[in-house]
């Protein structure tokens, strides 16, 4: 179509495109910032919980009861691994006419949104995300069921994506 190639992604594709072979679209993985943030949050919360479960029963009922702390500790280790698998599963691709978002490890989900159907593109960034220099891009279509969000992007990349999506959306606009 009239607009340029979808491969001018350049800046923030720190994860690197995965397998750009044949007709496969140029997938872009998420930058590692999201994984870092989620792991830190996990360690902070579960670390506190581990401490609490170790100290409270250990001091009140005897040192043997401190073994309860192994439970949140195991959860922490498991979560550490799971977060990476989940983070790895997230990827998106800008094709000539639509945006592809793929995610999920056990429950895999792949969403295609044609640019012409986008009603609104949102860039959001909460206080914790901002501290880590992250932003998410959310696409809205006229269907509420459309669940197209790309989390944990570099703010510059998020803005580039937003501007590009808006521009493409205008070029191919179609209503309901």
């Amino acid at each position: 179509m009239e607009t340029g190639s979808p491969h001018d992604t350049g800046t923030a594709a720190t994860g690197g495109p995965a397998a750009p072979g044949g007709e496969e679209p140029g997938w872009i993985a998420l930058p590692p910032g999201l994984l870092r943030m989620r792991r830190l949050l996990l360690v902070v919360w579960l670390g506190l919980l581990t401490l609490a479960t170790a100290l409270v029963p250990g001091l009140l009922a005897g040192p043997g009861w401190a073994a309860f702390a192994l439970l949140p500790l195991a959860l922490l280790v498991w979560g550490w691994v799971m977060l990476e698998r989940n983070w790895r599963s997230w990827r998106y691709a800008e094709r000539a006419d639509d945006l592809l978002i793929s995610r999920g490890v056990l429950w895999r989900e792949e969403t295609v949104v044609p640019y012409g159907r986008m009603q609104l593109v949102e860039v959001t960034s909460g206080p914790v995300e901002r501290h880590f220099g992250l932003a998410s891009v959310q696409l809205h279509t006229a269907a509420a069921a459309t669940d197209a969000t790309v989390p944990g992007l570099d703010p510059a990349e998020a803005e580039r994506l937003r501007d590009r999506l808006t521009e493409l959306g205008e070029a191919r606009s179609a209503g309901l």
């Binding site: 429950w107 792949e110 969403t111 295609v112 044609p114 012409g116 069921a145 209503g175």
Partner: protein, 444 residues
């Protein structure tokens, strides 16, 4: 969209004439305080009774003397402060006594227009006009207008929405309507008798009432269980009969006309190209007679019934009119899921089926009560593929197609490779299907 014309519009814009609603309207509002009282009495019956015994005739009279004029004043003021006006591109409603509220409804975005006449309104010769536009709420209805005025206004709004010039719009008049189908009352009654829901509720009542009686011997408990059950049975049989009585489907250049109702008459209009999905529903007991029920989804509209009951061939011809260029795929064209899908959804996997033609995405589900959903490719907003761990082990996946009416149509348990191909091709078809869609202003 109208950017080049804006400046001229502003310069020599004809004066907007504001109109008021029908003078009967205050009476409708006057019910509000009475309804509040009744609601309070029902909510707390003991207290209400105690208060009632304390009331003497004089205090009752005084109360009435205060309440009635207050209610009348409230009704009069809300009527006085409600105006509406039709401009070239908008319907403007200005309302609110304390909190002013102005709604500008863009006419080319109209998804449906309904003229409804509740029983009392029929007696008074007035009607309610409601416009369905995405994002509007219930306040944006014009209640009440004179019955003739409501019809004229509907015709004018549709003419302007269709793109007729503002000067001629109110002379265009009501577009001629051609009757396509009328459901005979006998057929409707039989079809409702053959619906499982009524019998289910009645059966529930027949089992629950003796059980509760033997268990508790308390009349109140039995009543508390029986009344909702019989109420639900009544709503799904008599209630539906009254609402769907004399169901008439007409076709006009303005779109689809649906008129129905025994006590409350409703006249719905769905302009062309607004239908997002159509569902053909075939309950088990209707199958021998070859009847189907047709439902539709329009964005921002709560109306969802197109035909309460009709023979299949007739229903299919109606669907072909509602979704131009679409033919309902025959049962053989629907491809069932692969046999290994039976490990994901044991018996019911046989009910699923999918057919994709160049115009429509058709997915069926249900084994006893079959339901076939049709989505024109032009109405698809996004496509999703979802695969759970159990499904991946069996090599199947679900494909969801989202439409603007906040409904998703799902093709369940497709072969994984087929689903992936479907995801790609459906997005492509959704994009290209849009090109030959009709404009919002369908007469231009």
């Amino acid at each position: 969209m109208t950017a080049p014309g804006v400046h001229e519009d502003v310069r020599d814009r004809p004066p907007v004439t504001e109109r008021r609603l029908h003078p009967v309207t205050p009476l409708r509002r006057a019910w509000a305080p009475v309804a509040v009282l009744i609601g309070w009495a029902l909510h707390d019956p003991d207290q209400a009774q105690r208060q009632l015994t304390r009331l003497t005739t004089t205090s009752l009279l005084i109360g009435l003397a205060v309440l009635l004029p207050a209610a009348a004043l409230y009704g009069f003021l809300t009527w006085w402060f409600t105006h509406f006006a039709v401009t070239a591109s908008e319907l403007r409603i200005r309302t609110g006594l304390l909190f002013r509220r102005t709604a500008h409804i863009r006419l080319e975005r109209i998804q449906a227009i309904d003229v409804t006449q509740p029983l009392l309104a029929r007696v008074a010769g007035v009607a309610k006009l409601r416009l369905d536009v995405i994002g509007t709420d219930k306040k944006d209805e014009l209640a009440f207008l004179g019955a003739g005025e409501a019809r004229a206004l509907r015709a004018e709004l549709l003419a302007r929405a269709a793109g007729f010039a503002p000067e001629t719009a109110h002379e265009v008049g009501e577009a001629p309507s051609r009757e396509m189908l009328r459901v005979p009352p006998g057929v409707l009654a039989v079809s409702l008798l053959l619906t499982g829901a009524t019998w289910g509720w009645l059966l529930g009542a027949a089992v629950m009432v003796p059980l509760l009686w033997t268990a508790t011997h308390s009349l109140w408990t039995v009543l508390a269980a029986a009344v909702p059950l019989f109420g639900a049975a009544g709503a799904s049989s008599v209630g539906r009969f009254v609402a769907e009585y004399d169901w008439t489907l007409g076709e006009s250049p303005d779109g689809l006309r649906i008129d129905h109702g025994l006590l409350d008459r409703a006249h719905e209009t769905v302009p062309p190209g607004r239908v997002q999905t159509v569902r053909l529903i075939e309950p088990l007991l209707w199958r021998r007679r070859g009847w189907v029920r047709v439902e539709l989804d329009v964005a921002g509209s709560s109306n969802s019934l197109l035909l309460p009951v009709a023979p299949r061939e007739l229903a299919e011809s109606v669907v072909a009119r509602v979704l131009p260029g679409v033919s309902v795929p025959p049962r053989e064209a629907l491809v069932p899921p692969p046999r290994r899908a039976r490990w994901c959804v044991p018996v019911w996997w046989r009910g699923y089926g999918l057919a994709v033609t160049d115009a429509v995405f058709a997915a069926r589900h249900g084994l006893l009560r079959r339901s076939l959903s049709l989505v024109p490719h032009a109405k698809v907003q996004s496509v999703r593929l979802v695969q759970g761990p159990w499904q991946r082990a069996r090599g199947v996946a679900d494909v969801h197609v989202d439409t603007g009416a906040n409904k998703s149509v799902t093709a369940r348990l497709r072969d994984a490779g087929e689903a992936a191909a479907l995801l790609r091709s459906q997005a492509e078809r959704s994009r290209t299907g849009r090109r030959d869609a009709r404009p919002d202003r369908w007469m231009t």
